[in-house]
């Protein structure tokens, strides 16, 4: 028998079966997690965040090594922000105790989702593992992580580190688990499994669609393609600085990164100069053509170029851009047929001139028509009128103002709430319109009193479902023997019938 021949016996898929057992284990963990009080939940979240934070650097290195994407220093920042940073941000929110709304005569009891099946993209593997896990833990859910196959090694390592920390801090066994050998058929099977309560899908459009098709509740988000307007009121130098920093952050691997600059003609040349000063390489028409050919294949973006350094991309395309942090490709046409204005998870930024705000809106809408609906946009401006005109006219659900789009729209440099999952709303094929936060992992049972003024709302202060006063449960012995009672009833019925018969005769 050669090594390549199939086994002689047909066999069940042991990997799938074992993964199903993982889901059962997660269900147990979720059930037990829901019995924990807030202090225990925070203790677990803190321990997990700390363990993640301690390995932010080494996992950043490992992720870049395994996927070939992004920048170690930036990944480290994201890992830190998505570990202790995240817990500190939500520490003061209570997802455990009942919420009493005396004015509305309503009490809300938190109901965690249960088992969350979380897809982890290749672009932001460790940060997403941290992010989704901590969101799940803070809301008392169990999580099963399903990494992108190209990032499975580092994701599994990170998940194990978090799981050990969680267990040591008193979390139930199985609260954090990871699919070690993910394949597309396996993931599709598991997404459709009844044991999953909620799918959180971050990744390509195919996987997001599959999540929604699964029949289970899902939060999936669509792709980005962010326009960034720089108008004639903007601080040009600052705008250029922010755009280059954002576009080069982790080599544009966040889906919120800028795709295309829409610069007012009056300031366009100044902006180009300022970008150059920030170490942007402004490409010639020939270089643009080379990039177009390199970055876009017949089936879409060239995945081999995702998150690569600008210099590497230039070299691969066939020109040199020594020291460049990003590559700027001036384009004449801002329409989907110009490939360079599509989403680019790489430090390549299209640059177009627009006559004024109306043309900027039209251009932004045009480029987003193919991809990026419901996602992100940015504007550098001091004109509130321009900002509101832009934000109301384009199909983006978040518009970062005077901030880099990568970290602005994803909530790190704005007050949107830092998130690795950016809701793209109905327009973007998503049930979620905001940045994913812990709030999306918990629902509520609502105790609702009669509105009538005469019906007085109860006093629920201090009542904790996890620690209710002991119900005294003395067993009640049945004093009346039911079988005898039934016999008597039967006798009574017979006598009545006899009587009726006698009377009728």
């Amino acid at each position: 028998m050669t090594d390549t021949s199939a086994p002689r016996l047909k066999m069940p898929d042991a990997g799938l079966e074992q993964s199903r057992m993982m889901l059962d284990k997660a269900r147990w963990a979720a059930a037990r997690m829901q019995k924990l009080d807030r202090a225990s939940v925070l203790r677990i979240a803190d321990a997990v965040a700390k363990a993640g934070h301690a390995k932010a650097q080494s996992y950043a290195e490992q992720a870049v090594r395994e996927t070939g994407m992004g920048v170690v220093a930036h990944k480290k920042l994201k890992n830190e922000a998505c570990s202790t940073g995240l817990v500190d941000l939500y520490r003061h929110e209570d997802f455990v105790a009942p919420r009493i709304h005396a004015d509305r005569k309503i009490v809300e009891l938190p109901r965690p989702a249960g088992v969350i099946f979380a897809l982890v993209p290749v672009t932001n593997p460790v940060a997403t593992v941290y992010f989704k896990t901590l969101l799940a833990l803070m809301t008392r859910n169990a999580i099963v992580l399903s990494p992108h196959p190209q990032a499975k090694g580092v994701c599994a390592d990170a998940a194990r580190t978090l799981a050990e920390a969680a267990k040591a801090a008193g979390a139930p066994d199985g609260v954090i688990q990871v699919i070690e050998a993910p394949t597309i058929p396996l993931i599709e099977q598991l997404m459709g499994d009844d044991r999953v309560d909620l799918i959180v899908a971050t990744g390509g459009p195919a996987v997001v669609k599959a999540a929604y098709r699964s029949g289970n509740p899902a939060i999936g988000v669509g792709p980005g393609n962010a326009p960034v307007v720089v108008d004639d009121t903007a601080d040009i130098k600052l705008a250029a600085k922010r755009i280059v920093a954002s576009k080069s952050f982790d080599n544009s691997i966040l889906c919120t990164n800028e795709s295309t600059v829409l610069a007012f003609t009056t300031i366009a040349d100044r902006l180009l100069e300022a970008l150059k000063a920030e170490r942007a390489h402004i490409c010639s028409a020939d270089e643009c053509a080379k990039l177009r050919a390199l970055l876009f294949t017949d089936t879409g973006f060239n995945v081999g170029m995702i998150g690569r350094d600008a210099e590497v991309i230039a070299r691969t395309a066939g020109f040199n851009a020594p020291g460049a942090k990003i590559l700027v490709t001036p384009v004449a046409l801002v329409q989907p047929e110009e490939k360079l204005v599509r989403e680019k998870l790489a430090p390549v930024l299209a640059f177009a001139r627009v006559q004024g705000i109306d043309q900027a809106l039209a251009a932004a809408r045009s480029m987003m028509r193919k991809a990026g609906q419901g996602h992100s946009a940015a504007i550098h401006s001091k004109s509130e009128a321009n900002v509101i005109a832009f934000a109301s006219a384009i199909p983006a659900l978040r518009v970062a103002v005077n901030a880099g789009c990568s970290l602005g729209a994803s909530g790190f440099e704005t007050n949107l709430g830092p998130s690795m999952t950016i809701g793209t709303g109905f327009a973007g094929g998503s049930s979620l319109a905001e940045n994913l936060t812990p709030h999306h992992f918990v629902q509520f049972t609502r105790i609702a009193y009669n509105k009538e003024a005469g019906e007085v709302f109860g006093n629920y202060a201090g009542l904790d479902p996890l620690n209710l006063p002991k119900r005294t449960a003395s067993p009640v012995s049945l004093a009346v023997d039911n079988s005898e009672q039934a016999l008597r009833a039967e006798l009574r019925k017979i006598i009545l019938e006899e009587l009726k018969a006698v009377l009728a005769a």
Binding site: L9, P12, E17, M21, A473, P475, D481, E484
Partner: protein, 427 residues
């Protein structure tokens, strides 16, 4: 009309009539007399369906036969795959399936050297007893009063009078019985230096799972060593992760010379059992390997299934699930006992093996079993101690189903109370 293609029944009553006429009149009538009119039809996971379509949660599991539930899809697919290639096989020859399974079993059973296969537990026990007699050149066997090791020629003689006298199969001169948990009696039985083996269920199942006292099994093991007898661990109901370890003797920290596994090894879909022998007990396999023969013992189809069973049991998720179910049942039953202390008086538990005590005498568990049956849960009383209800959750029970079981248990208790009162009145 119940049309099964190969045969059909007009009604459930027709089935009862034919079962009484052609199959087993006493057993059929017994269940009717205790209010359990169950004819198991479809089955899936931990659910049984009566011919009427009524669903029952199975906590009987036939002593762990359905450890993984009924027709576990992974096992069914395994057997179907095997059926496209193998059949029972030819016992005379070495076979890939038997070699693979025996290697796997020996690997998960420290101290054991060989696996000898049989179609069921009783025959495997006979192999164990014969191997001990071979190794010690002694004839006598010691077992526990109310112990249970099956119904074959030798195994039945180790058991209760009920199963021997009727067939004139009792052999009191060769088969000695001592009370459980009585180490003095055990030494008395062994000290004549003429005992081939002590055979022990690690926790006596049919007796209602009375737990061995601390150190009892260890002391028995030591006495066997001292008096030259072999220690046979009957793991038919306690093996295969039901105590939280692969074998119950591992959970109690003892080392048998021989052990027997059956029931759950079959996955509930293809009968197979095994006696595992240490080097000394397996001596006859060198001297005359055809001294014991079984045409369907170690059938290759069963070997493939059993191999999968062991593979599944070795997954860390299973061990973790057993620990979780164990904890859930412990906490749940403590709460139930507080609520129903007038009838529910005690719990015996090791892993997912539980005996629930209802009162201190009588046959109360029969009524409780019926009340649970009426509430959609099938759990059987202990044949040899009918105040104890056997409570045998499967190793893969889920969180949701465990909660449902406990809710149904709670709901059944008033009815159990009612039945017990009625029974008292009748007496």
């Amino acid at each position: 009309m119940f049309d099964y293609g190969h045969f059909r029944f007009e009604s459930k009553q027709e089935l009862f009539d034919k079962a009484i006429k052609f199959w087993n009149p006493d057993k059929t009538r017994f269940w009717q007399s205790v209010g359990v009119d169950l004819v198991i039809d479809r089955r899936e996971g931990y659910f049984l369906y009566d011919m009427s379509g009524r669903r029952l949660i199975d906590l009987h599991l036939n002593g762990g036969t359905y450890n993984f539930g009924h027709r576990h899809p992974e096992l069914v697919e395994t057997l179907k795959g095997a059926l496209d290639y193998f059949d029972i096989g030819n016992h005379w020859f070495p076979s890939v399936a038997r070699a693979a399974l025996s290697e796997q079993l020996v690997k998960v059973s420290p101290g054991m050297a060989y696996a000898v296969f049989a179609p069921g537990g009783a025959e495997a026990v006979d192999i164990a007893l014969k191997s001990a007699r071979y190794a010690t050149k002694r004839r006598k066997i010691v077992s526990i009063i109310k112990g249970y090791h099956g119904h074959a020629g030798l195994s039945v003689a180790t058991g209760d009078d009920r199963f021997t006298k009727i067939f004139l199969a009792d052999r009191p001169d060769e088969f000695i019985q001592v009370p459980f948990n009585d180490i003095g009696a055990m030494e008395q039985a062994l000290k004549g230096n003429d005992i081939a083996a002590l055979i022990m269920e690690t926790i006596p199942a049919t007796y209602g799972f009375p737990l061995p006292k601390d150190g009892y099994l260890k002391a028995c093991r030591d006495l066997c060593t001292k008096y030259g007898a072999m220690y046979i661990a009957d793991e038919v109901q306690t093996g295969l992760m039901r105590t939280g370890e692969m074998w119950g003797w591992q959970a109690y920290g003892i080392q048998p010379d021989i052990m027997v596994t059956a029931k759950g090894l079959s996955g509930g879909i293809y009968p197979i059992s095994a006696a595992l022998l240490n080097e000394k007990a397996g001596g006859w396999l060198h001297e005359d390997g055809a001294a014991h023969i079984s045409t369907s013992g170690g059938a290759e189809l069963g070997c493939v299934v059993a191999h999968k069973v062991i593979e599944m049991l070795l997954r860390p998720e299973v061990k973790s699930n057993v620990a979780t179910v164990t904890e859930f049942m412990r906490d749940g039953m403590v709460e139930m006992m507080q609520r129903h202390s007038d009838i529910f008086t005690g719990v015996r538990q090791k892993g997912v093996i539980l005996g629930l005590e209802f009162g201190h005498s009588g046959e109360n568990a029969v009524a409780v079993s019926r009340a649970l049956y009426e509430h959609g849960v099938w759990a059987i009383f202990s044949s040899l101690d009918k105040r104890v209800l056997q409570w045998k959750p499967g190793v893969l029970l889920t969180a949701d189903l465990c909660q449902e079981i406990m809710d149904r248990f709670d709901a059944a208790m008033p009815r159990a109370r009612e039945l017990l009162h009625a029974a008292k009145k009748m007496n």
